[in-house]
């Protein structure tokens, strides 16, 4: 095995880890996967260090040490990607897959099948709308929550292609969520119906709010990944600040001008 092949093994392992990390896998799972993949092809002294924004790996073969740093930008949660990368890593470690075939498979991992756009929009409405009911909303608040959540997801997905800074993106998301809520509540006011703005906004915000990253961060802290855990918690905190900025703007304006 020459130096070229050793390098390729490390690259394949890191790329798989990168796909898992980008789409929201836990830190220990990424470390474990990358390490197993590298060790299964005869590399020794494999050390992997994973934080939410990067992967560092170093491995030894025939007294020669190679290390690689891969920068990662988190992209949100995509469980299909994690599932596929996990299945691929198992296949890579248990069979004699050639490195060239493995590289081709990695290209496919990057573009998993997604639900059609209208299904995503309708079901995000479902996610947000039923949340309003779980928090004791009325039927009319459910309908508003449903519409506002669908529109908010449509809006944030349109923003995804613009490559905005995550802070700005979340300010705009929170702004839109609150705006749709306020506008609909004012609109039904014409027909003498009333709905509580606070209850209505729960729905669309649940699609944006970083509850999962906060919980995952604390899970990392508990399992001893202190650096990765702190980074995730800080991310959650700043997403929450951005959302509050966006929502706060709308609420201040609506208090002043509309009512």
């Amino acid at each position: 095995m020459d130096q070229y092949r050793v390098k390729k093994i490390i690259q394949i392992a890191t790329q798989t880890g990168k796909i898992m990390l980008q789409n929201g896998a836990e830190t220990y799972r990424v470390e474990d996967t990358v390490q197993r993949m590298a060790e299964s092809r005869g590399l020794s002294e494999v050390n992997v260090f994973v934080i939410p924004t990067g992967i560092i790996i170093s491995a030894t073969y025939n007294d020669m040490t190679i290390s690689l740093l891969e920068r990662v930008n988190p992209e949100g949660i995509d469980l299909e990607c994690i599932d596929r990368a996990n299945a691929f890593s198992r296949e890579f470690t248990s069979t004699e897959m050639t490195l060239e075939a493995a590289e081709e498979r990695i290209q496919d991992l990057n573009s998993p099948p997604r639900f059609k756009k209208w299904i995503r929009v309708l079901s995000s409405g479902m996610g947000g709308g039923f949340f309003v009911l779980m928090f004791g909303g009325t039927a009319i608040e459910f309908l508003i929550g449903y519409l506002a959540s669908s529109l908010t997801v449509l809006w944030t997905e349109a923003l995804d292609n613009k490559h905005l800074n995550f802070f700005i993106k979340n300010i705009l998301g929170g702004f839109a969520a609150a705006l749709f809520g306020v506008v609909f509540v004012r609109f039904i006011g014409i027909f003498d119906l009333s709905a509580s703005i606070n209850t209505v906004i729960i729905g669309p915000l649940m699609t944006l709010v970083p509850g999962v990253s906060l919980t995952n961060g604390i899970r990392d802290l508990i399992s001893g990944e202190l650096l990765a855990g702190s980074a995730k918690i800080m991310e959650a905190l700043f997403i929450a600040i951005a959302l509050a900025f966006g929502v706060g703007m709308v609420l201040q304006f609506s208090l002043k001008f509309i009512s």
Binding site: L79, I82, G127, L243, A244
Partner: protein
């Protein structure tokens, strides 16, 4: 009756979020069931005991973690796939948002209260899941033996 309604709402809500998280289609029903069980436990403990806010989230997340790990063993997929959608109903997302909103509104007392509350809810969820995961890891060899015996 209210439990039936809550079960229905939480099930559909988790289905919605599973699609948003792009969960593989054939796992959506299973993940939503685990979310529903977790939320029903959360709801039950919340209705009998209003002063303690840690117990509901802790009990709910233990249930989600156990169901998720068992489903992972049965269906041969990573447990995260069932746990992330499952904890969605009681994750303190709304709490941290509210904390920040109070800060924007210069209401620091409420911000501290809601902030501490949501931090401890998040910690209890994480503890519950880690506890369930470690427990299943101990019994997993036996579980898998039982599953293969059943398959034969």
């Amino acid at each position: 009756m209210i439990y039936v309604a809550q079960a229905f709402y939480s099930f559909l809500s988790v289905v919605g979020f599973s699609v948003l998280f792009n969960l593989p289609r054939r796992l959506i029903i299973a993940a939503s069931l685990s979310g529903m069980i977790g939320w029903l436990l959360y709801f039950y403990f919340q209705s009998i005991q209003t002063t303690n806010f840690i117990l509901p989230a802790f009990a709910g997340s233990i249930a989600v973690g156990l169901v998720g790990e068992i489903l992972a063993a049965v269906k041969k997929h990573p447990a995260t796939l069932f746990i992330i959608p499952g904890i969605i109903p009681f994750v303190p997302g709304y709490g941290i948002y509210y904390t920040m909103l109070h800060i924007v509104e210069k209401d620091f007392n409420s911000a501290l209260t809601t902030g501490a509350e949501s931090l401890f809810i998040a910690i209890s969820i994480a503890c519950g899941i880690v506890l369930a995961t470690s427990f299943v890891r101990i019994i997993r060899p036996n579980l898998e033996k039982w599953l293969t015996k059943k398959a034969k």
